[in-house]
Amino acid sequence: MSKGMRVTLSQRIREFFLKRFRKIREINKRYEKSSIKMTPAVRISLLFLRIYLIFLVVVLVYKFVTLVR
């Protein structure tokens, strides 16, 4: 009985996460195509944001590493 319960529980947890992942995949699919027109300005801005993000990640990682040391 209790074993059965446990199975159900873990199944439930699995199902819960599966459901969430499905939801996330669904969202990804829904917004797959970016609707904004890719003008040069948009392209450049997005490129800049990517580089900026990488820069910040590098800085944070560096800080973390120095902290840990």
């Binding site: 609707s35 904004i36 944070l60």
Partner: protein, 422 residues
């Protein structure tokens, strides 16, 4: 037309303007005054204590900055009828969407923690134990949203926003010299020269004036209020009034601490309030009450900003006009944010100072993206039509965004590596 008729005509026009403004106003005033959150109050108090009236001019410069950024969210929300998170997903795809959403959730949660720190600190001046503060605040915040109407929520929030103006009479208690304020504060200059210290303070003030959650919050609030294209003009006025209020409050806090606590090192607003308590009981009380109110106002807005954003993206019912049963996930996220953030403050030995510091850094990771997306979205003629940015708006907002990105990045870096600029 005789002069009586003329006077009456103008009186009715003004009265009508005010009434219409009061009906439409809300998101703008709330977001701007919530911007003076616990962290903001601390920043202003510290600025005043360190430089006296010397940096008031800089705050006045921040007024158009806040206005122009937030004004864009009004148009975006009223025209597209959807929040900022959803707009980013839709326009720029899942990568930027998830990045913005997760970053927002994290920033908001951390900021929420700082609000709780502010509130508990403020009320502990009146010997209220932190746990009491947090429970009462959580209950009030829940009651505010559970009544199931955006309208009611907004009116309550406006009351708390109005309470934020308590600093204005507070400043008059101490009879500051107006001519001194004008002489020292009105002319742009850098007291003690442009060094690392003052740079840090300038950037801190910018950081409290423009925060990523404000963009998400106001856009969602505009949508939830159901504002239409025709309301844009009023909502702009609302936003402008809000930015006037927020700068006024900031200025008056600086005047208070600049007059009374000149030269005192201030670590937090609560500490400033305690010090003021010793000088003038009412002044200290005002500052403490104001600090609590600021934290509370910040908390209700920030937690909502996250809930709205998550609700939009996941396609849950996400409006304050829903009852709890109709939008369980929306209210669930709201409650979860409040409870977890509140509990963290209660954990003994939690790294609260680190969190406060971390907030600014995390905010900087999101702010540039949110601002750039805002400008790009506002230039999308397909969705914005005639409400898209004009050339003038593009020029000024681009300038603002570039300056903010540079300064906030420097701020974040200097916060991470204090030795770098020394």
């Amino acid at each position: 037309m005789n002069s009586f008729a003329r006077i009456y005509y103008n009186y009715r026009r003004i009265a009508k303007t005010i009434i219409l403004f009061l009906i439409i106003s809300g998101p703008g005033v709330i977001v701007m005054l919530a911007d003076n959150d616990a962290g903001g109050i601390t920043t202003y108090a510290a600025t005043g204590a360190k430089y006296g009236y010397g940096l008031i001019w800089f705050l006045v410069l921040l007024l158009p900055v806040a206005y122009y950024v937030q004004e864009m969210t009004v148009r975006l929300g009223a025209v597209t009828k959807r929040g900022h998170a959803e707009a980013i997903f839709s326009a720029f795809g899942p990568f930027w969407g998830w990045f913005s959403l997760l970053d927002l959730a994290l920033t908001d949660w951390l900021t929420l923690v700082t609000e709780f720190i502010g509130m508990t600190a403020a009320l502990s001046i009146f010997h209220v134990p932190p746990i009491m503060t947090i429970i009462v605040v959580a209950v009030v915040m829940l009651l505010m949203v559970l009544q199931g109407r955006y309208w009611t929520w907004e009116k309550i929030a406006l009351v708390f926003a109005a309470l934020n103006l308590i600093y204005i009479p507070g400043a008059f208690i101490i009879h500051p010299s107006i001519s001194n304020i004008l002489h020292q504060g009105a002319i742009p200059h850098f007291p003690g020269g442009l060094n690392n210290d003052i740079f840090f303070f300038l950037m801190a003030n910018i950081g409290t004036t423009i925060a990523p959650w404000m963009i998400f919050f106001q856009q969602s609030a505009v949508v939830d209020k159901g504002l239409q294209e025709k309301d844009i003009a009023w909502e702009k006025v609302d936003t402008f009034m809000g930015s006037v209020f927020t700068i006024m409050v900031a200025t008056f806090i600086i005047v208070v601490t600049g007059t009374v606590l000149r030269g005192v090192q201030i670590e937090s607003a609560a500490q400033a309030a305690i010090k003021l308590m010793g000088i003038n009981k009412y002044l200290g009380t005002f500052l403490a009450v104001g600090l609590f109110d600021a934290g509370f106002l910040g908390a209700i807005c920030i937690s909502l900003a996250s809930s709205w954003a998550i609700g939009e993206v996941f396609g849950w019912a996400h409006s304050l006009n829903y009852k709890i049963r109709e939008a369980p996930w929306f209210y669930g996220a709201y409650l979860l944010a409040i409870l977890t953030a509140g509990s963290v403050v209660l954990i003994p030995g939690a790294p609260l100072v680190l969190i406060t510091l971390f907030v600014q850094v995390i905010a900087v990771t999101l702010l540039p993206a949110a601002l750039v997306f805002l400008i790009l979205l506002l230039n999308n003629e397909e969705t914005m039509g005639k409400y898209k940015n004009t050339r003038w708006q593009n020029t000024i907002t681009t300038m603002i965004v570039v300056v903010i990105i540079i300064l906030s990045t420097l701020y974040a870096v200097s916060a991470l590596f204090p030795s770098l600029f020394k």
